[in-house]
Symmetry: C2
Subunit: 309 residues, 2 copies
């Protein structure tokens, strides 16, 4: 017998949607995944999509829902704004925005913004992973890799600053639209982090990140001159981009020696290996667990505080 659901937790990204039903301990009692991300949800509508998934999970009427991610972007369900850094993680929930048109209470969490000409930056969704990483007091550097990798500095529960590296998007762009596509083949696969081509490119980029844009062209030249296999070319592209990302993050945060890596699956393995090669100690937090925990904690504060007080 499962405990009753007290909250629907929703991670609504650009391309994907994930819905969990959680009990009062935050444990999962139901789960759905879907490709109805923000960019395709406009037609049917966000409220209707959410209701469909909740109905399929047998969620009771009136069950409150907490949402993070691109559903809160301007082109999403409703704009959920940004909290400016420095921002206290414990304050994220109370800045949530009510979503219109839903048959139940739905709140969407805000993103984070870093304003000013020095390095403007934004995140939307990762702030909830960060909250769910349950960092202890003290100073932390957090890496959340992906299409747009986030590097976040946290001090005593306050996000003090962050930077976004376009690593995943650059990999996709270069592999599918640039001259490098001729060397990477139809379905580029960066392979395992132990691949010698990945490790060599990673070390090259860590040593000379300022040469990135010419190291990239060498992938094409290697294909032309030496028939470098496409899997090695893809591993090299991945190693160069991740190496440059880590070198940039180290340069922006010279005090960083330990990194809390919030990632899952193959991405976690690849970045853990790369951070190790870069001489950083890694504290791994599962990204799927983190976002669910972050959503639960925010939902608990917003909807369940009466019950748990």
């Amino acid at each position: 017998m499962t405990s009753p659901a007290v909250l629907a937790a929703v991670d609504w990204g650009t391309s994907n949607l994930r819905v969990w039903l959680l009990d009062e301990a935050g444990d999962v009692v139901g789960e759905r995944k879907s490709g109805e991300g923000m960019s395709s949800a406009g037609g049917k509508g966000f409220a209707a999509i959410l209701e469909e998934h909740l109905a399929a999970l047998g969620a009771p009427e009136g069950l409150p829902a907490i949402v993070c991610g691109m559903a809160g972007a301007r082109q999403g369900w409703v704009e959920a704004g940004y909290l400016d850094v420095p921002a206290r993680i414990a304050d994220f929930a109370q800045a949530a925005t009510t979503a219109p048109g839903a048959r139940r209470p739905v709140r969407i969490l805000p993103g984070l913004a870093q304003r000013g000409a020095e390095h403007p930056d934004v995140m939307r969704g990762e702030e909830t992973q960060l909250a769910g990483a349950e960092l202890a007091e003290g100073a932390h550097f957090v890496c959340m890799p992906g299409t747009h990798s986030k590097w976040v500095a946290v001090e005593d529960g306050v996000v003090t600053g962050f930077r976004t590296a376009m690593t995943g998007e650059l990999f996709h762009l270069l592999a599918s639209h640039s001259i490098l596509r001729h060397s990477l083949g139809e379905t580029p696969d960066a392979g395992t982090p132990k691949a010698p081509a990945f490790q060599k490119a990673l070390r090259d980029a860590l040593a000379n990140p300022e040469r990135l844009t010419s190291a990239l062209f060498a992938i094409r030249a290697g294909g032309l001159l030496d028939n470098v296999p496409s899997e090695d070319a893809a591993a090299t592209l991945s190693g160069l981009l991740i190496g440059a990302e880590i070198a940039g993050a180290k340069s922006a945060a010279p005090a960083m020696h330990v990194v809390t890596l919030v990632a899952s699956g193959g991405m976690a393995k690849r970045y853990a290996a790369a951070l190790g090669t870069a001489g950083l100690l890694v504290n791994l937090v599962d990204a799927d667990d983190a976002v669910r925990k972050g959503l639960f904690e925010a939902g608990r504060r917003l909807f369940l505080s009466g019950a748990s007080a």
Copy 2:
């Protein structure tokens, strides 16, 4: 009265074709430009296209033609191979390949290749610009900016090594296919090299080239948070990529203090300004003149040596 043409000089790139008729002093007596570059020339055929342009220019039967560029690539008219570096500039012409199917003598110049795992690289066309830059004895560093910018080390007439930065291609990719396109608008224009946004981005990238992939994302964040105008966003993208290119070239060639810049038009102005900001002295050579001179010198050696000896 113009002097009679003794040579047809052809710069046949990926996207464009340029044909000059030159007299025995190498002066221009006729010129044609066309969009029939290597990538679109396959249908009608290279020989037929060349004959059309030569007929339109009134070139005499049997006038020899010298060709450089992508017409010598594997997917071009005929593969003209590569000379391996170190390569003596004076030796380029004698390595030319005869093009088949032409109604006149046609020779295609080879590209240059840098083999080995350290930094494989290739060029095709720029070697002829380099020959036409007529460098004096001694050591030179040459920058040939473009879609794929070439940085070449030359010592006493010998190309000793080179690197290619994907600057122009990255600008196009990021401006048209990445998330940055939302901030750059439909027709991105990097503006003048005096634009404050270009200068700031250039200085930032020269100071911290290792942060390139996160500095890029800040363009998008600046658009979201501060409604940065699209022309400033485009200038920033250009400044970041050119700054990173120059920083990488400096790191790979620490002895470089003077740069021979082979470029024309707006590209020449932009790179001259950027190289100056980077503390490098610039010796400007017009790229159009250089390729024509390089072709003439090679054609003279191959076809006209009897006459001029």
